[in-house]
């Protein structure tokens, strides 16, 4: 297993390098540079050039890249021209919010998907399965931002059960219990909105895994031993069907990212997604590139996580 994980980590490294090169190129192609947002109109062109020289902006691209990467490693993502502050500082709180939102929606996703997928797969082609599959089709067809708007309107505005914007109630002191409860409370409705839509792929995936596993020869062997139907499902079918779902976990992160981008803007939830959309709109490019880098890294690490989980639960990989 360790061998596998180490090999997998070695693959991750060039992936991250590749991502950073892509993002760097993207950043270079953006109009303006680090100084554009900061300039005072009274500064002369010569002084500006001097500054550029000082900041290394006239260096060849590979030196600039090296500078940029070493900045990255030290947590320096540049300056946001809109907020006139370090991108790192700007992003870090947003990142925590988005992680919370993602965790909440992941938990909802699994709470909903596992029972529904199991029922749907075990009793496939029953009326119950048809209902669940029908829901899945609806879920696939519904754009998440429209669904989130409907959720916000019903549960936020009409019923008033949940807050309609922000990530925490104003006036609460950071670090208190109320503060954390309020944070969680603010994440519930957007998290549930993401989960109800993104859950359908997990349900269908689990269902087809179960339907598939049901017909395997080793299930016949289990029945021939005299195992009851419940035992056959609990001991043989589920474990073999959950396995790919566990592997799916890391990939889920990628789909969450796209989910949060829209849902955060619907709920005015101050996470990375909302910041991303706003920064594009405001042409705050240093923030945009930083976020792209973070999203990309999250996807790569999610895939890594998937494979590591798989290597832990699947003996066929564990041994190698």
């Amino acid at each position: 297993m360790w061998k596998f994980i180490i090999r997998r980590l070695l693959i991750t490294f060039p992936q991250l390098v590749f991502l950073s090169v892509l993002v760097f190129i993207m950043a270079q192609m953006m109009p303006g540079d680090a100084l554009t947002g900061l300039i005072d109109p009274t500064i002369t062109a010569e002084a500006l050039d001097l500054q550029r020289e000082r900041l290394g902006l006239n260096n060849p691209w590979y030196i600039q890249y090296a500078d940029w990467v070493s900045g990255l490693v030290q947590g320096d993502l540049g300056q946001s021209f809109r907020f006139k502050m370090d991108v790192t500082a700007l992003i870090s709180e947003r990142v925590m919010n988005t992680i919370l939102l993602s965790a909440v929606s992941l938990i909802f996703t699994y709470i909903i998907a596992i029972p529904l997928g199991i029922v749907s797969g075990r009793y496939n082609d029953s009326p119950l399965d048809s209902v669940i599959t029908g829901y899945s089709y609806l879920g696939f067809a519904t754009p998440i931002f429209i669904f989130a708007l409907v959720m916000l309107w019903i549960f936020g505005f009409q019923l008033g059960w949940f807050p309609t914007s922000g990530s925490v109630a104003p006036g609460l002191e950071s670090g208190t219990m109320e503060y954390y409860i309020s944070k969680l409370y603010h994440a519930l409705l957007p998290g549930l909105s993401i989960a109800l839509i993104s859950v359908v792929s997990t349900i269908q995936y689990l269902r087809s895994e179960i339907v598939d596993t049901k017909q395997k020869d080793f299930i016949v062997t289990a029945r021939a031993k005299g195992a009851s139907e419940n035992r056959v499902y609990n001991k043989h079918i589920f474990r073999n069907s959950i396995l790919p779902i566990a592997a799916f976990f890391g990939w889920e992160i990628t789909s969450l990212i796209s989910g949060t981008v829209f849902v955060e803007s619907v709920f005015s939830y101050p996470g990375m997604g909302l910041l991303f959309l706003e920064s594009i709109m405001q042409r705050d490019f240093s923030v945009v590139t930083s976020l792209v880098l973070l999203f990309g890294a999250a996807s790569i690490l999610g895939a890594l996580l998937s494979d590591i989980i798989l290597s832990i639960v699947d003996p066929r990989i564990r041994i190698k």
Binding site: D217, T221, P315
Partner: protein, 335 residues
């Protein structure tokens, strides 16, 4: 008869294809005594596995009609919970493909243990483990302690087949069904597995149904043989009589001894078992593979005829070959 272990009467197992049911096992009747080995031979698609699965009631979507009695209890009508008490205990099965018949995520030891756990509650965890090690040794695998912890993918096909045999014999079944236990293995391993089954035959005193398409295996292991074609038994006899006096043209084609009117003495019958949907349901099912035999030799509704004590043959078409044999013998005498 007190010696009778299994009695199958008018068993028909049908699968649904489209809107209709098609019989893969068609009106099969046979008996198996305690300690007896019954070989069942027939080409691919003749319904051997369908028959075996019916006895174990392992079909999930099949219509089963008729009677299958194990120690005088009808399996066809048994409740599921009662059936589960018998399966893996009184009757057990060795499967055709060892590569897929084990759970890939469960250690070998636990897979054997499961069948002990289900039927032998008195055995504690320690007792079960001890018995599993014993079984692994019994089926001829060295270093049982290590294999106990291993996963199926770490073992070769032959080893896995031994594990499947260990699972099947774990609770000393009275009826053991071996469905082509060696087909998926290479030749040397095949011989080893057959040796193992032969050894076990002496040890476990079970009635055994040995399914194969290898008549050599049958000659060595079986007491009686049933030949299946297109879902029906076409001939059944003791091993000695079947090899000495094969009658049905299908049996004879399996034994490579079909006389024809042409020059080639050993006529090889062409073709394959038709698929379920295309199976002729009236007349002699074998007729289309021996087109040179005149229609008048076939029965309209072929039944099994007892030609000598305990030797049954379906249809009257075998008489055609009987006369051919006679003619040839005479020719031999003349020349």
């Amino acid at each position: 008869m007190t010696n009778e272990l299994l009695k199958i009467k008018n068993l028909t197992t049908s699968f649904r294809i489209g809107d209709e049911y098609y019989a893969a096992v068609d009106d099969v009747s046979l008996t198996l005594n305690k300690n007896e080995v019954l070989g069942i031979v027939g080409e691919s698609g003749s319904g051997k596995s369908a028959l075996a699965f019916s006895i174990m009631r392992l079909h999930t979507r099949a219509k089963i009609e008729g009677e299958i009695s194990l120690n005088n209890r009808n399996i066809v009508e048994m409740s599921k919970s009662k059936l589960n008490k018998i399966r893996g205990d009184e009757m057990a099965m060795i499967f055709q493909d060892p590569l897929t018949a084990l759970n890939p995520l469960m250690p070998i030891g636990r897979q054997i243990e499961e069948t002990l756990f289900l039927h032998n509650k008195r055995l504690g965890q320690q007792g079960r483990k001890k018995r599993v090690i014993e079984l692994i040794n019994l089926v001829g695998i060295p270093r049982a302690e290590r294999v106990y912890e291993q996963f199926p993918h770490e073992l070769s096909g032959g080893m896995r087949q031994r594990i499947i045999i260990a699972i099947a014999i774990a609770n000393d079944p009275e009826l053991l069904i071996a469905d082509e236990p060696t087909t998926a293995l290479d030749v040397t391993i095949q011989a080893q597995i057959l040796d193992l089954i032969r050894e076990l035959k002496e040890k476990i005193h079970a009635g055994i149904i040995l399914i194969t398409h290898d008549l050599g295996v049958v000659a060595e292991m079986a007491d009686r043989v049933a030949v299946m074609y297109a879902g029906q038994i076409v001939e059944i006899a003791t091993v000695e009589r079947l090899f000495e006096n094969p009658l049905h043209p299908y049996t004879r084609s399996l034994l490579n001894s079909v006389p024809t009117e042409g020059q080639d003495r050993l006529h090889v019958i062409q073709g394959v078992v038709p698929s379920l949907k295309n199976l002729p349901r009236t007349g002699c099912r074998f007729a289309e593979r021996i087109p040179w035999v005149d229609a008048s030799y076939h029965e309209e509704n072929p039944t099994l005829h007892e030609v000598e004590s305990g030797h049954f043959v379906r249809c009257t078409c075998h008489k055609h070959f009987y006369f051919l044999d006679k003619k040839e013998e005479q020719e031999n005498v003349v020349s």
